[in-house]
Every structure is written in structure tokens, then in C-alpha cells.
């Protein structure tokens, strides 16, 4: 088993990156790898509740997040500094994520076999 870390840095909808990284996470989960899923920078917007992308004709990227737990993806982290810089509150989030700072992210990265950032 490998430890794979995913840095979700992109907002949802503006590009396909959020969805592309989520698909990687879910695939790795199917193969039962150890997954660390870290939301930082604009990636924190992916976690906001009440997203409604119907007007854009796009799929709701956040709809799959509650299923992460079923896939066994339970190491989900949120960069507190990114959240604060954007004036967001953790009570606005759709799924629970462990608050962390840069020190903690560095140590999650140091423990990883591979890191993917989108």
C-alpha cells in the first residue's frame, strides 16, 4: 500500500481540475491506497455547502464529497489559512475536514510516496 497525497488547490467549475483530482482520489480509493486529501488555496471553495451549478449546465462537483467516507477516504484536511484568507467559515462546509496549517501539511507530504496537485 502506498501513501498518496492530493493537494486540491483549484476552485470548482472554473476549470475541470477539481473534478479531475477528485476522480484520481476515488480511483486510488478503489485500489485501497492510503489517501490524504488536502484542500488549500481556492480548493477550499470545493467544500462549501449549497453549491448549485444547474444554471451552468455543469455537474455539482461537491455532490460526490459525502461519498468519500464510503470509499474509505477519511483523511481529509483543510488549510485554515486559505479558509481565513477567503473570509470563509468552517461551518459553511459540506463535509467535516480536519483543520491544519502549513507545518502539518509539510509533515503529511513528508510521509507520502507520491503527491498530486491540481
Amino acid at each position: 500500500m502506498k501513501t498518496l497525497t492530493f493537494l486540491a488547490r483549484s476552485g470548482p467549475y472554473g476549470s475541470s481540475k477539481a473534478k479531475a483530482l477528485l476522480d484520481m482520489v476515488l480511483s486510488a480509493a478503489v485500489f485501497e491506497q492510503k489517501i490524504q486529501y488536502i484542500f488549500l488555496d481556492d480548493g477550499v471553495y470545493q467544500l462549501l455547502s449549497d453549491q448549485d451549478s444547474a444554471q451552468l449546465g455543469a455537474k455539482n462537483v461537491s455532490a460526490a464529497l459525502p461519498a468519500l467516507d464510503l470509499y474509505g477516504v477519511d483523511r481529509i484536511y483543510l488549510d485554515t489559512e486559505s479558509l481565513q484568507a477567503r473570509g470563509l467559515q468552517s461551518r459553511q462546509l459540506l463535509i467535516p475536514a480536519q483543520p491544519c496549517n502549513s507545518d502539518e501539511i509539510r509533515s503529511l507530504i513528508a510521509d507520502s510516496d507520491m503527491v498530486f496537485s491540481l
Binding site: G14, D50, R86, Q92
Partner: protein, 97 residues
């Protein structure tokens, strides 16, 4: 004869909004679209437009998708029809990537 500034990228990840704010002139308007709407609560934007005759809009569909609102800001929501009207009301437009 004024300009519509169209900002489609995140102010946290790119220099699009910053460049827009450096080029916006009295009488111009700004419209935030796509990831550009992530600027909606940004103080540098609010301060730049407050008390000026620069109007700022944000595409409603992009706000709703991202669970954002313009509440408490001077930014007005626009739908696609308003976006078209804004393009027509201004002499030219700049799309910032």
C-alpha cells in the same frame, strides 16, 4: 466611451483582478465571471469601487454554483442578458485571463 472589464480568473491565484484594477477608469464597469466571482468579498475590490462611478457586477449563475452571494457588498448581480447589455453599453471590453 468607456470600457467593460471582464475578469474570469481567481484573484487569489492569478493577477487578473489586480491588472483590471490598475486599468479601470472612471465610468468603466467590471464584471466578474467564472472563477472571477471569487473576488466578490475581497476588500481591495470593494475599496476600489466604493464611492466611485465604477460599477461592479458578478454573474449570478457563477455565484450560485459556488455558493457565494453579493450580500454586504456594492457588487450587483447580473444574468446573461445583463452581461450582453453591459457589453453594448460600453465602447469596448477587455477579457483578463
Amino acid at each position: 466611451m468607456s470600457t467593460l472589464h471582464i475578469v474570469s480568473k481567481s484573484p487569489f491565484r492569478t493577477d487578473a483582478l489586480q491588472r483590471c484594477l490598475s486599468l479601470v477608469a472612471p465610468g468603466d464597469s467590471i464584471i466578474l465571471i467564472e472563477d472571477g466571482v471569487l473576488a466578490v468579498n475581497l476588500s481591495i475590490l470593494g475599496e476600489r469601487i466604493s464611492g466611485t462611478d465604477v460599477s461592479c457586477f458578478a454573474l449570478a449563475g457563477d455565484l450560485i454554483a459556488r455558493s457565494l452571494t453579493t450580500a454586504g457588498t456594492e457588487i450587483q448581480q447580473a444574468d446573461a442578458a445583463s452581461f450582453v447589455a453591459l457589453v453594448c453599453e460600453h465602447r469596448n471590453s477587455i477579457s483578463y485571463g
